[in-house]
């Protein structure tokens, strides 16, 4: 028998080739157990409240009539006041532990919210103000919030870098373990300790009717760099 004939017979006698994978079954889907995670009720309450809040805006051009148009911005004082009211109506005052935990959860919040950084700073300030505790720890783990410790009267330790801190602070103490760009305006008392770099050290403005820094003390790495109470 010729070689060609043998090949022809092999191919024609078995036209349907055997599936080489016929002996295997498809893998069975295995159900994986789901992790049971309970919601942190206290923190969820403060997160939900934050998400429900809206900033109060102000037309900067109308107030300051600048040469260049700045448009709308957040009205810090009004927004802070509204946050205080909302937190007081939310029920039990936040504890220092809850506030610390909230500060850790900030990166997970909706960052597309308008004026997000200012909102976070003012909200944390309002939480601190309404709390019955006196000592607080704030962790900055992402982009720093703005206007943290607004109108502060308590003892706050901040771990991380900040842009500005302690606007309109009256009493209390703020310890920042990190770098700070500006000390908040209109500080009238209390102490701010920067254990890092303070890029813009406040200066005493003499002969000013409305000085930016009216009191308080600022320390950088333990060294007194500004004493607003001295004459």
């Amino acid at each position: 028998m010729s070689r060609k004939k043998v090949l022809d017979e092999k191919t024609t006698s078995n036209p349907v080739r055997r599936n080489p994978f016929a002996g295997y079954k498809s893998e069975q889907e295995q159900q994986e157990r789901q992790l049971q995670v309970r919601e942190n009720v206290a923190i969820t309450k403060w997160i939900n409240l934050f998400n429900s809040l809206t900033p109060i805006e102000i037309n900067v051009d109308e107030v300051y009539s600048p040469i260049m148009s700045c448009g709308m911005d957040i009205d810090e004082k009004q927004t802070y006041q509204s946050f205080l009211v909302h937190i007081q109506y939310a029920g039990k005052a936040p504890s220092s532990k809850e506030i610390e935990e909230f500060s850790i959860m900030v990166p997970g919040l909706d960052q597309t919210k308008p004026y997000f950084k200012k909102m976070v700073g003012l909200y944390l300030s309002a939480l601190i103000e309404t709390s019955k505790d006196n000592e607080f720890v704030i962790h900055i783990t992402d982009e720093p919030p703005l206007h943290l410790c607004f109108r502060n009267r308590k003892e706050v330790t901040v771990y991380g870098d900040l842009w500005n801190v302690g606007i309109e602070m009256t009493t209390g103490r703020i310890i920042v373990t990190g770098n700070v760009e500006y000390i908040g305006e209109y500080i009238s008392g209390g102490e701010i300790h920067v254990n890092g770099t303070l890029n813009n050290v406040p200066k005493k403005e003499k002969n000013e009717e409305f000085p930016t820094y009216r009191g308080g003390k600022v320390y950088v790495n333990g060294e007194l760099v500004f004493d607003g109470d001295s004459k």
Binding site: R33, L35, Q36, E39, E101
Partner: protein, 606 residues
């Protein structure tokens, strides 16, 4: 002890990771996974004690121990980057606590992440629960370590949907523990941060609530007791005291890391955290005595020369972005480029002299005899020819460093990362890269192979207005681009980087770049901008005009100002969008791959 069978069994549960066989070590710990050597160590005495206490077979105990240890390699922490980041987070939150206690939180958190992943998988669940239950018998119920372990075991059993027993006083801690999400923390650092904070606080609360009032020293005391008794202080898998090898002892791990591992870990961290946190991690590592890699390459100066002065170069920032760019390689589509080549010719002859190659002799010309001076030999010569080669073009990278762009020194800049990715990808294809960094002023880096200089030029930030210097752009793409080298010496880039004033460099220099770089069409243009350019129309017109010769791509960076106009011009120019989270970069790679394959398929169809 027969390690082989249980080891293979445990490896099978993780689909056979590439790990070397375990070894029996003599230490008071039960077992540990060494990240440096990727080896698992087990203590024979400990295994026998657990077998005796629990009644489990040796093979079963070893299976559980190995399943847990391999979990450290496969589940958590997996890499040095995660290990360092987790340790840094614990240090941030529990700075006031003793180092031993911080280490204890770190180890128990790592164990929990590892074991939770196992109890949710049917193939690993029983092995882990068996060894955890057996090891629990080693702890005294009333001591603080025993209490913490009891809560951990109850949590694991609850997640495995198995009945558990727990003292009433410990139940609130279990309830609090239920708020922690231990899954996928390697991918989600925010989840890890929250989990570590909650977990650490649970441990601190248990210590505080402990009726014996031993406080934070409880754990320390347990470890001391462990040294005496040989075991009691150890975790379920028996990690021992500080002198013994432990798998998640950050001090030991950091001590043994080499510079490449540190570099890799830092790169991994830089991809996911903000630049500020990355700097904090570096600072913390420095405090821990880790020698960080020098960001400034050897021979590079402090600044970079510009057309009208010198810009400061922050090598930390340069290195930070350059390392991130390693994660996003771009694909360069090759194109036909006119090249000048030399070919070998054997058409000429010369007289053969003794001492020259006899194999080239033409004996037929001298009657078969070797006659020096009469016998001829072939003279190989090289003839220059012009040809078209299919290869990757060179790159002219224009980067916008105006005030509207992110300052790379302050924050991770997607524009700089994209620029570094492009430069790296062209460089690896043997191409030369030139840079135009434009803002109010424009400075240039002539085409070079020095990648560090390219990165420096891309990262330099001017922060002024935004105008593309059209004259410079035309010069960089035109025939007269050789003139650019008169001021700046190629190769010896040290001159350019500020060590020697630009004026001191002699003018008549020979340009050491290949000639083909001056042929039209050998250069691709990539412009990275947010679209806020004052002469945008003129720039785009120019790039469109030259699109037949120089392929132009614009990487449009997301901006809050809503600059428009670039996207509409897509056609002759390719426009790619990059988000602030660098999300556009992998997409760009995929696009290039798809295009490459479709071109390839088209070629095949012809």
């Amino acid at each position: 002890m027969k390690l082989k069978a249980p080891w293979e069994q445990a490896k099978q549960k993780y689909h056979y990771p590439s790990l070397s066989d375990p070894e029996v070590g003599k230490f008071s710990g039960g077992a540990c996974f060494n990240f440096r050597t990727l080896k698992t160590l087990v203590d024979e005495e400990y295994i026998q004690r657990v077998c005796a206490n629990s009644g489990l077979s040796e093979e079963r105990v070893l299976d559980g121990v190995f399943t847990h240890e391999i979990g450290h390699y496969m589940v958590f922490p997996r890499t040095y980057g995660i290990l360092i980041l987790a340790a840094k987070m614990i240090n941030d939150f529990f700075k006031k606590e003793k180092e031993d206690l911080q280490n204890f939180i770190f180890q128990t958190y790592g164990d929990m992440v590892d074991d939770v992943d196992s109890v949710l998988k049917s193939s690993r669940c029983n092995s882990i629960l068996d060894i955890r239950t057996a090891a629990q018998k080693n702890y005294a119920d009333r001591d603080v370590n025993g209490k913490i372990r009891a809560v951990m075991l109850a949590y694991l059993k609850k997640q495995a949907r198995i009945d558990y027993e727990l003292e009433d006083e410990l139940k609130p801690f279990l309830e609090k523990m239920m708020e922690i999400d231990f899954r996928d923390v390697v991918k989600d650092h925010q989840k890890m941060r929250e989990g570590i904070f909650l977990w650490g606080n649970i441990i601190l609360s248990i210590i505080k609530e402990d009726k014996k009032g031993i406080g934070c020293q409880g754990v320390d005391r347990q470890e001391k007791e462990g040294e005496k008794s040989g075991e009691e202080s150890n975790s379920a898998d028996g990690k021992g005291n500080a002198a013994e090898p432990r798998d998640m002892d950050i001090k030991e791990v950091l001590k043994g890391m080499n510079s490449q591992q540190i570099k890799d870990a830092l790169r991994e961290i830089s991809l996911t955290v903000t630049k500020g946190e990355y700097e904090q991690v570096k600072k913390w590592l420095n405090e821990k005595g880790v020698e960080l890699p020098n960001p400034r390459p050897a021979g590079q100066g402090k600044g970079i020369g510009t057309s009208s002065g010198e810009l400061e170069v922050d090598w930390e920032t340069v290195r930070y972005h350059a390392e991130i760019s390693r994660a996003y390689p771009l694909i360069i589509v090759k194109k036909p480029i006119d090249t000048k080549k030399n070919i070998r010719s054997y058409t000429r002859v010369e007289k053969w002299r003794p001492g020259t190659d006899p194999s080239l002799m033409q004996l037929g010309n001298s009657g078969g005899m070797i006659l020096p001076g009469i016998t001829t030999k072939i003279k190989p010569i090289e003839i220059p020819i012009k040809s078209v080669d299919y290869k990757a073009p060179h790159l002219l990278l224009e980067i916008d460093s105006s005030g509207s762009m992110i300052n790379p020194k302050l924050k991770k800049s997607p524009a700089v990362v994209a620029g570094d990715c492009a430069a790296r990808s062209y460089h690896i294809n043997d191409s030369y890269v030139g840079v135009l960094n434009f803002s109010g002023d424009t400075f240039y880096l002539p085409y070079t192979r020095d990648l560090d200089a390219v990165f420096a030029a891309i990262t330099a930030f001017q922060g002024g207005g935004t105008t593309v210097d059209m004259e410079m752009l035309k010069k960089m793409l035109g025939k007269d681009r050789a003139e650019l080298y008169e001021k700046q010496v190629e190769r010896n880039i040290r001159h350019m980087l500020g060590e020697i004033p630009v004026k001191a460099v002699r003018k008549n220099i020979s340009v050491s770049v290949p000639e083909e770089i001056f042929t039209p069409g050998s250069i691709d243009v990539i412009m990275i901008t947010d679209g806020g350019i004052s002469n945008l129309g003129e720039t785009l017109d120019f790039l469109e005009e030259r699109s037949e010769v120089n392929r132009a791509t614009i990487f449009l960076v997301d901006n809050p100002f809503g600059f428009e106009g670039v996207g509409e011009r897509e056609g002759k120019i390719t426009v790619k969008k990059i988000g602030e989270d660098l999300s556009g970069l992998p997409g760009m790679v995929m696009g290039a791959v798809k295009r490459h394959f479709s071109n390839f398929a088209e070629e095949l169809m012809r």
